[in-house]
Symmetry: C2
Subunit: 353 residues, 2 copies
DNA sequence: CTGTTAGCGCGTTCAG
DNA sequence: CTGAACGCGCTAACAG
């Protein structure tokens, strides 16, 4: 069933040259050593005829580089967004000739160590350490054995490692600005706030989004009409928040800290006979699948997971190929902030129109 | 920055023995050759002290086996479900000491070939070929170069390859039975039907689900009150279907062919002032994230993606380790049907209560 | 310009 | 019971 692979030696024999000659020709370095055109021709033909493909394992052993990356995250399956991050990384890697091992820890630190070891054992050229659930965290031992990039992980001491993060602060500003530019002044927060310190969740996203929102509100002489720090950002919590807001009258606009909260907000508003965006405007964060399925479509600031994954792989490969980001010459790395684009759908009413 | 790896030779030197001796001890084959307890002790200690880990690339080259799998699918990021499939495969692989390369084709056949080649070049021990979008399809060339398993791919000629599929037929039966057991008789179909041939979509799932539903209905002397074959299974289509159904009165129960259709059905029912499950019962397929977020929770027959991924990896590793599933001795492989469990939430009203 | 030689790190004979 | 020697498939020195 499994056909035997053709080796370089067989190609050389077929072409009637030495192995090293074949190696040079096939390695594209024939020009350097000026091998006769005839020999080159014969080698190429033989390789073609036999269907020769270099054995990457052998090359890896010889060169000490395997053109292989490791991607370790705490969750690959939790959402479409997680998948996008991996997808971006895999695609960028492929475009540069790298394959990637994917591992998932579920937040288990021991497992993380084991995966890292398993990958280092397989001589990966570098590792992307990513997170979707956990944000603040410790870095595993053994990360110093290989080039590495942190993806969506904010740590106090990143030890000179490149870090790729979404620009949550700017996203917060953009969300608030979208509402204010449309003429809104009565702005309620669901998920965090109203004060700068009202962030009960572990996520750093919450804090930065809130900071951005408050910065813009303040700049316009405003403050949130209300705010609710919530630990679980799921539909039921969004639903409950709206019921609580409605006790003091109909809100003009609501900023939800993620799309799942927004879904609950939609449900509650609907149950109370309020229309979006005619009665209430809503803006949110993440751009999860539901954002496009809700009616009306939810205007939301997208988490650019795909781009982040791509960026992480690109940075890592740069480090690998150019030996950049060493402790002394940091170069263009460090923290890379990826912009979060606004997806404008139909949930904000323009009062100035 | 990158610490040099410790080699077996260094361990042997440190322990004052020959490399082969160290190899035997560390390979757990000391008993076979009866190596002196003292030497064993010294080797183990040296390995421990130096933090020795075998170089998997070298072992791969030497043994021709790399403890590595390839996972190629048309989409890793399209949904949480896709991620679950990969996750299941990765976990099962890890439990048996394998790492997995993940590749994504986006349905591009050329890319698929290239990925397959890249993996075979890296000497993967086997490949899982998976699909989420495409169902009927051609098998790529080069799949005969390595052990392989088909995951969620139904092909006419699978060429003796093991295949893992969800049991959609039984799922159809279960969905219909859930409604009938609850006393429903007025059953409408959204996505396919009403006739056996009214399946416009490419997916085989549609056909099997429909067959299962019709089988049970027929067994009870019933037929669908209505049915709609739809190509796109998204919320707007579900919404439109309900509006069409309502022209002939309020339906008793609706079977949606997937959860996204069901979401549209929920929205339409709500917009028309109908309550679920009091006025209309709904059952669906897939168990996507939204199924749990909708209010009331959607009762749905789950696609067991996680289990399927796990099964595929297990079958593949069985083949690799025991040389099973060769053309002549098929063994327990062939088509593996994974049961689709019913997730009972709150969208079916029990009329008999 | 080409062929011979020497490893990369490991497992496996086969003599001592 | 142990060590020396060979080769997995390939690349990179070095001679010829």
């Amino acid at each position: 069933m499994v056909r035997k692979r053709v080796t370089l030696a067989q190609v050389a024999a077929e072409a009637g040259v030495a192995v090293s000659t074949a190696s040079l020709v096939l390695g594209g370095r024939a020009a350097d050593v000026r091998i006769s055109a005839a020999a080159q021709e014969r080698v190429q033909a033989a390789a073609e005829r036999l269907g020769y493909r270099p054995n990457a394992v052998s090359v890896g052993l010889r060169k000490g580089r395997t053109s292989t990356l490791g991607f370790i995250s705490d969750s690959v399956a939790s959402s479409r967004l997680a998948g996008e991050m991996i997808k971006g990384a895999i695609e960028a890697a492929r475009d540069r000739g790298f394959m990637v091992f994917v591992g998932e820890t579920g937040g288990n630190v021991t497992l993380e160590r084991q995966l890292l070891e398993a990958m280092v054992d397989r001589q990966v050229d570098g590792v992307i350490l990513a997170a979707l659930l956990t944000h603040g965290r410790e870095l595993p031992d053994g990360l110093d054995q290989t080039p590495a990039v942190l993806l969506n992980i904010a740590v106090d001491d990143c030890g000179d490692l490149p870090v790729v993060l979404p620009d949550e602060l700017q996203a917060g500003r953009d969300a608030a600005a979208a509402l204010i530019d449309a003429g809104h002044r009565d702005i309620h927060l669901v998920g965090s706030g109203p004060g700068r310190e009202d962030v009960r969740t572990i996520s750093v996203a919450a804090k930065l989004r809130l900071d951005g929102i408050l910065e813009v509100l303040t700049a316009h002489g405003l403050e949130p009409a209300s705010g609710r720090a919530i630990n679980q950002w799921l539909p039921p919590e969004g639903y409950a928040a709206v019921e609580s807001i409605l006790e003091s009258g109909t809100p003009g606009a609501i900023v939800c800290f993620n799309d799942r909260l927004a879904m609950g907000v939609y449900q509650a508003l609907q149950d109370h006979g309020l229309r979006i965006p005619d009665d209430v405007s809503v803006v949110s964060f993440d751009d999860a699948s539901i954002a496009g399925w809700l009616r009306p479509g939810l205007t939301t600031v997208a988490l650019p997971h795909r781009t982040m994954g791509k960026r992480a792989a690109d940075v890592l490969i740069d480090v690998i190929e150019h030996h950049r980001a060493t402790p002394d010459e940091r170069g263009p790395h460090g923290v890379q902030l990826v912009p979060m684009p606004m997806r404008v759908r139909g949930s904000i009413r323009d009062l100035s129109a």
